[in-house]
Symmetry: C2
Subunit: 132 residues, 2 copies
Amino acid sequence: MIFKLNDKFEKEFHISGDIYKGFINLFQDNNPLHVDELFAIGKGFKGRVMHGNILNGYISYFIGECLPIKNVIIHSQEIQYKNAIYLNDVLYFEAIISGIYESVNAVEFKFIFKNKESKIISKGKFQIGVLL
Amino acid sequence: MIFKLNDKFEKEFHISGDIYKGFINLFQDNNPLHVDELFAIGKGFKGRVMHGNILNGYISYFIGECLPIKNVIIHSQEIQYKNAIYLNDVLYFEAIISGIYESVNAVEFKFIFKNKESKIISKGKFQIGVLL
């Protein structure tokens, strides 16, 4: 198998206005935490909180486009949200292969997103299958 | 708390061309499984497989817009992909409250997506926090 235990992948993602507005246009999640600056500040945040599921979109891109092979499919994902993300945050993403299951052609990754202050934004794991 | 154990919520989601193209435009996941009909068929699917993370976008919408209160935030999500989704599929979504943790203002939901043939597309759980 092309994947090896502990292989590490790194990416950077920018929570741009286009990503933020595009996500809202696509999924219509206009919860006040995401769109109302004063509401978000009133709840203890620095400003409007970006949608956590933007990160799952980045994971889709990572799996579909950034691996050494393209014949892959997602089996499962888990994500924990640890700190809020804000407009224009630049996030560092790291994924490490944490398990290889050759008899079922599956590979497990652990991942983390950090912001520029090295605060953990979110962490989790996902499993992909290699399509034969 | 406004939420009660076993409260059930139902929604329907349509995997339209706009959702499919919008997701690709937003996250740039042009993996051949998603965009190349012949590639997908060659791997045993009925056609281009829609991105699983479209479902996580729907979950964002559900949490942000479809609950009886708006002062909520996602803590964590887990999803298992069981069957492929295709363009124009109409998905039935059901979420049931599986845990209420008043001392930390958290509520856990189990969810399922099914297609029109009642095939399970995906299942999982998520936890939200109620913002005071």
